[in-house]
Structures are given as C-alpha cells and as structure tokens.
Symmetry: C2
Subunit: 242 residues, 2 copies
C-alpha cells in the first residue's frame, strides 16, 4: 500500500465503516424495524451491557499506555461520560435504566450470568487489543464512533415507534451519546491523521478499525444465532420468558 495523505486515510476509514459497521447487520434491522420480541430486545440490552461496562476499563487501559498529558486529559472525559460524576450517573447507569425498563433484574444483568460467551469473548478481545497493540491502533479502534450518531438516531426513532415497552426515559442513554461520540471521534480521527504517516502505520490503523467493526458484528451474530434463528441458546445463557 502506498502512503496515503491524511484525507485519503480518512476516506479509507470511512469506507470501512460504510462496508463493515454493524448498522448493516440483520439484527439491527430487526431491532430498529420493530421486528424483535421483548425477549429479543432484552437479550440485546443484557449482552450490550457488558460492552458498556467494559468501555471505561478499555479507556483506562488506553490512558495507562499514553505518555502525553494532553492526550490523557482528552481521553479522560470518556471515563467521566461512562462512569459519571457520582453513583447513578454516566453511561453505564443510563444503560441499566434501559435494562430496568425492559423488566430485567438489575442484579442478574450486572452478574453477567446470562451473558452469551461470544459477547464476553468479543468485548474482552477489544480490551486486550487496546492493551496489547500500539497506542495509535488503540485510538484508531475507537473510530467506530464516527458512525454511531447515525445508528443512534435510527435506533431511538425506530424503538420508540415500534415497541410499547420502550420509553424516551429508558432510552436516555442514547439521547446523551451523539454529542459525546462526535467530540470523541473528532479527537481520535485528528490524532490518527496526524500520527499515521507511513504505509505501515496507516495499514495498522485501517486494520484496527476493521477489527473493531468485527467485534460489534460478532456480538450481533451471536445474538442472532441464540435469539432469532435457530434460537440456539448456549448452555447457561439468558433464556427469554416472552
């Protein structure tokens, strides 16, 4: 691969999103289109909880590898967004409002007992990736947030319209996210464009974003297999009641 200009690199990153972001996954179409049962929405929220819960662990792992105060400071706002300023605030707490609103027992959700093993493996792969790859690759792997504002607005609209068991209040997580995601993605994209200046680092950056798309995609594949068709729930995982 030839060295790309920063703008060419951005175009290649956006192209990966256009082809591999989980917005294209059949499970998302079912979820937003109103084709999911309440049990399927519960399974999605319960599994996605683990992703939400591990995001600050991922972000702290990234900060821990970073020898530059400015980047650490910028990245620290993500910890605040997810963990909040005090108990009951922040993205994880808002995600639990969603699982509450869906009728899931909060202790059960937080125990991770009902989690699909494939969800755990995919999320843990993301944390390990950020710990083990270069800082630049860790930052690049966050760039799925370039594409999340669009999926979130589809999700809020689609879920409110289609499910009587979902309210604006239980979807509070999503209402807060787009401006945070836009700010974070802008910083990360700028960082990547400034620091990936060789063919090798650029190809690593592109692979990092593809990897992260794979993580999100694999989570939906596992939900589809367990809860849509053939509804083959692995031993020990959550079994919907309705």
């Amino acid at each position: 691969m030839d060295v790309l200009s920063p703008d060419e690199l951005e175009a290649r990153l956006r192209d990966i999103g256009a082809r591999r972001y989980h917005r294209l996954h059949p499970f998302h179409k079912l979820l937003h289109g109103g084709a999911c049962s309440k049990g399927q929405v519960q399974a999605w929220a319960l599994n996605r909880y683990y992703y939400q819960a591990m995001i600050p662990v991922k972000d702290a792992s990234l900060i821990a590898r970073c020898d530059d105060s400015d980047t650490r400071r910028q990245w620290r706002s993500r910890l605040l967004d997810h963990d909040g300023a005090r108990e009951g605030e922040g993205g994880i707490a808002r995600w639990l409002k969603l699982t509450d609103g869906l009728g899931l027992d909060r202790d059960y959700v937080m125990s991770l007992q009902g989690l699909l093993p494939a969800t755990r493996f995919a999320v843990d792969a993301y944390v390990h990736f950020v710990r083990e790859k270069t800082l630049l690759e860790g930052i690049a792997s966050s760039l799925t947030e370039l594409f999340s504002p669009a999926i979130i607005s589809e999700r809020i609209k689609g879920m409110l319209k289609n499910y009587d068991f979902v309210t604006a209040d239980t979807l509070a997580y999503f209402a807060q996210r787009p401006p945070q995601a836009e700010r974070d993605a802008r910083f990360a994209l700028d960082y990547v464009k400034r620091h990936a200046r060789t063919a090798e680092t650029q190809s690593r950056v592109l692979a990092a974003l593809a990897f992260k798309c794979d993580v999100l995609w694999a989570m939906l594949d596992a939900l589809y297999h367990a809860y849509v068709a053939p509804k083959h729930v692995p031993p020990g995982s959550f079994v919907p009641q309705e």
Copy 2:
C-alpha cells in the same frame, strides 16, 4: 458450595462435560452425520486451524507461569505433540494435511484471512485465560481433553463413512490424538484433584472447565451461523465455493 472430596470434584467436572462439551452441539451432529457440504467441512477445518495453531502458545504461557520443574516437564510434551520434533511433524502439521486434503490453499489457511472473527475472539480468550488466571485454573481449563477421545472416534468413523473427500490420511491428526489426550487429561485431572482443596479453588476449577466448554461451543455457534443457517458470513470471512 461445600468442600468436595477429590472424587466428588472429579464427578462434578465430568458432569460439566456431559452437559456442556461441544459434542452436544448441533454442528457436530451435522459434521459427523454426513450432513455437511464440502464447503462447510472446509469452513470448520479452516477455523479450527487457528485453535490448533494457538494451542502451543497457550501451553507455553502455562509453562511460563509454573515454578515447578516436574509440572513444566510434564506439560512440555504438549509442545512436542503440537509443534513436532521437526518441520512437517506434530499436530499443527497434521491439521494442515486435513486442510490440504479438503482442497484449501495452505497459505490462505495459515494467513488466517478467512477466519471468522468469533473464532479468533474465542481462541484468544482461551490464551488470555491461561495467562491471566491462576495456574490451577489454567490447568483445569485443559480438562475438556477428558471428553475428547470419545468425540474423536465418532468423528473419524462418521467422516470416513460419510464424505468421499475425506481419507484416513487426511484424518491423521485425529488418529494420533486420543492417547496423547488421555495422558494429558490424566495428568491434569490428577493435578487438579490434588491442588483444589478448598471450596473457593474448587469452584474456580469448575468455572474454568465451563469456560473452556464455552470457548469450544462458541466456535461451533459461529460456524453454524455463518455456514449452516442463516449462512450469514461476516464481512471478509471465508466464502465456500461448493
């Protein structure tokens, strides 16, 4: 949980295998029963290659954590089994005979380009488990080998009978494995029974075996989803030609 006697612990371990080992997975029934297309058998062999290739990495990680010469020596035979005494020997090389025999390009298999991301995440979860948990849990996670001789004999019989594209020669991997697996499982089971003497360590040992069953199970879930139904291959993964 109360403290179990060593034999009660063994019974509980065997019970986990009876309920959660991947022998019970629908994909295995299809594979052994002759219901798979050649493309599905290829996908299975290609994905399972990554598991085989990472086993010595997992075993070396375990040896590296072990401060006792006798256990290291015992465990070292696993490296020999998988990597062989010289190029072209050992379990990984025999697995590549299988993928060769199935008509897969060896460079493609070894490049891991066609791997399902879920396979990579599951296998890497196993390697990380052995690196990050206690040595006792690492050893306990190998105990799926207690159950592998039975599945292997089913597999050889079923595959030779049902697929004209499979020969005894391409199945050489499996012919070698049962005595190795039996020796290894005996050592690991004995180690676990001698060292897990508290309720807490026993419960960790049981969880380690359940975790490992989840790894194998998740690999087959992903194969089923991508190649059996709904045949929804993730972006970039192997697409069978037949």
